[in-house]
Symmetry: C2
Subunit: 408 residues, 2 copies
């Protein structure tokens, strides 16, 4: 029988990213496998936020919009995210939430494809992607069409203005072939909007390489920007001249401080700004993105794949009764694995009680996420061995593990 | 000749709110008269944010959505804002930015008044209010109509779905008669949306008392929530059942964690949530709102009026060459005074160099804001006396004071 403890230790000893764990304030007693939902706290963040609060806000006051560079943070952080997703610096902006950014870009796409109203996605996509289409559908501006992933190709026709897909599925971890689907959409005249929430910082993304049109992504998962961090949006340079989005707030105006009555969009992605940017969130996101940029996407991707491959192998060997619904090929999935079980909720709660933190996604999935910057192979082995022990002991049947909380 | 130094000292000595200044981390060397643009830093905020970052995020990790109550912060903070604006606790929610909330409620109003497309406002309203109407106009959903404030009554007809006004004008400080205009709008079947950005925390607002329909407001001015703090939105209870807004994100869903494909709105103002709430910003806003709630609106309003009355009097006596464009009656204006001068920009910069911080609003207005929780009468007198000195010395002509920064 394989000595997995030893194997995990060997892999950790060989891991070129192991040193980066010290850059996070993460209790050594916790195996944190939920960085795909909320990334861990970078060590530099508390001090950086203290400075933003006491010096920039408290002492610099209103002058910090210029003096501390607050006004340029959305563009600056966007530029820092760009190399993680195969974008040019001036094509990315940090702003609002993923949901709000989806609304902007759905609106922009519809405006660029007059006569077409269909926004195509898949059933079971992350809910907010589907709901933001529904919002414009309720306004009479869009028509939502859903097709299973195997039928996306045939559902693309000349009514489709926009194909909106989440690159890595939040539940299964299945990853779309971004190049192939972008090409298929373009062949029918449709635009493509990729939701990179479960991709950025964990899997290879080359937006300009595949010729995509739009993207959005999340700041609080693998980018470690903190709870409810600002999101980002990307628009390919070739669309900048034609870009018009419906959330035309003053910060996206060409001259916000001219206080004109009529809206005139700022050039490029700056138009995607709407209200006043959330500076505390921006400062925290900046720290998280900086860390990812310093580690670099290539080693992050390699480590992500090694962690999920190791965990998949150990789960199959040790907890075979949990069926994996994630693709078997590491190159075809994101940085998490999902296992279904009728009592996945209780198993997840029992794991958390043992300080192994994964998460549950309704109705029956246990997710284990591998944030490559700080998860160790030992963490992964601990998750598997605790899961084995929980099942063997029947521990998960304890009544407190079936109590549902507000956020599950 | 009046000894204004003595008079200011006397007023400060008698000021029942003077003790609250110690609750803010504000350099004694600064006269901060720009709390109407960015409120000062509450003393409790740095420590509260450290706790949110280190304990809630760093240690509690994903579990803090339930464990630290993150998931309920928008409703909790909304409930804390409610008494400041004459609302019921369950009618207010903290979310997104003023701009984004305007978009939601413009959309909601249009949906409640089928057959009417006009959104009426005034020219020179704060730009984002006008631009957010323009956004839905560009989508073909709204028609923007602007009428000077004296003509609002006659511009209300049965094409008007919504009257959208900023209660206190950002530039002049002129305050609308909210009761009269709400009544006039309702008489023509229109709904009313009040932007309280320059009102909340400084002037009396009684939304339910006047029977208004919708309101939005800013978290970073008199509520002291920090740069780019979350904003809030209010919807009168009687509209909750019919409320539908276009930014239908997952956090506004009736069951966000059921991960359903179809959108179903949460009851009441929770539907106004869109993406994941910005938790760091929420925690900072909570501290600022708590301070305002503890002081109470009645003394805040009294102090605001006393400060602006004193400043108005001293300015008229000492700097008569600057014309005041704010209403003379303290009860007819907000908590700031605006003075026009061809070199208002340079005067403002010269004041800032002397650590008297007001602000400039294009093309020619110098604003002096009186955040009643921490501004002293001595601060106001200092602003006037420095302004006198700057004009007398010609100091404002120094070339560095005419250099325009990104944010003016």
């Amino acid at each position: 029988m394989t000595d997995w403890t030893h194997e995990a230790a060997r892999l950790d000893a060989e891991d070129p990213l192991a040193k980066w764990r010290a850059e996070f304030l993460l209790d050594e007693g916790v195996a944190y496998l939920d960085g795909n939902s909320l990334g861990a706290l970078p060590r530099a963040t508390p001090e950086r936020l203290q400075r933003a609060i006491r010096q920039e806000w408290g002492e610099g006051l209103i002058g910090s919009w210029n003096g501390a560079g607050w006004i340029g943070l959305p563009q600056k952080i966007g530029g820092m995210i760009a190399p993680l997703i195969g974008a040019q610096a001036h094509e990315v902006i940090a702003a609002d939430s993923v949901s709000v950014n989806l609304f902007k870009l759905i609106g922009a796409a519809l405006q660029m494809r007059p006569g077409r109203k269909v926004v195509l996605s898949e059933p079971g996509n992350f809910p907010t992607d589907l709901y933001m289409i529904a919002g414009q559908e309720a306004q009479g501006l869009a028509e939502r069409r859903l097709a299973d992933r195997s039928d996306i190709g045939s559902a693309l026709d000349d009514d489709v203005a926009l194909l909106l897909l989440t690159h890595v599925h939040y539940k299964t971890g299945a990853m779309y072939d971004m190049a192939a689907l972008t090409k298929a959409a373009h062949a029918t005249g449709a635009l493509v909007l990729w939701d990179l929430s479960h991709s950025v910082g964990a899997v290879p993304v080359d937006l300009n390489g595949v010729g995509a049109d739009f993207a959005v992504g999340c700041g609080y998962k693998y980018l470690n920007g903190g709870p409810g961090a600002p999101a980002f949006a990307w628009v390919a340079q070739r669309h900048h001249a034609d870009l018009r989005q419906p959330l035309s707030g003053w910060m996206g105006h060409a001259a916000p401080f001219a206080f004109e009555d009529d809206y005139a969009p700022a050039p490029g992605v700056s138009q995607l700004l709407c209200g006043t940017p959330p500076i505390l969130g921006m400062r925290a996101l900046e720290v998280g993105v900086d860390l990812m940029a310093r580690i670099g996407m290539e080693p992050l991707v390699a480590k992500s794949r090694a962690l999920s491959a190791f965990t998949g192998k150990v789960m199959a060997a040790c907890v075979p009764e949990l069926a994996c619904i994630s693709p078997a090929d590491p190159a075809a999935r994101g940085s998490h694995l999902s296992y279904v079980h009728p009592h996945a909720y209780e198993l997840c709660q029992a794991l958390i009680a043992r300080r192994v933190i994964g998460d549950f996604r309704a109705p029956d999935a246990l997710r284990l996420g591998f944030a490559p910057a700080y998860v160790s192979f030992a963490d992964c082995w601990r998750a598997v061995s605790e899961l084995r022990a929980i099942i063997d002991s029947g521990d998960w049947r304890r009544p407190e593990f079936s109590t549902r909380a507000a956020v599950t």
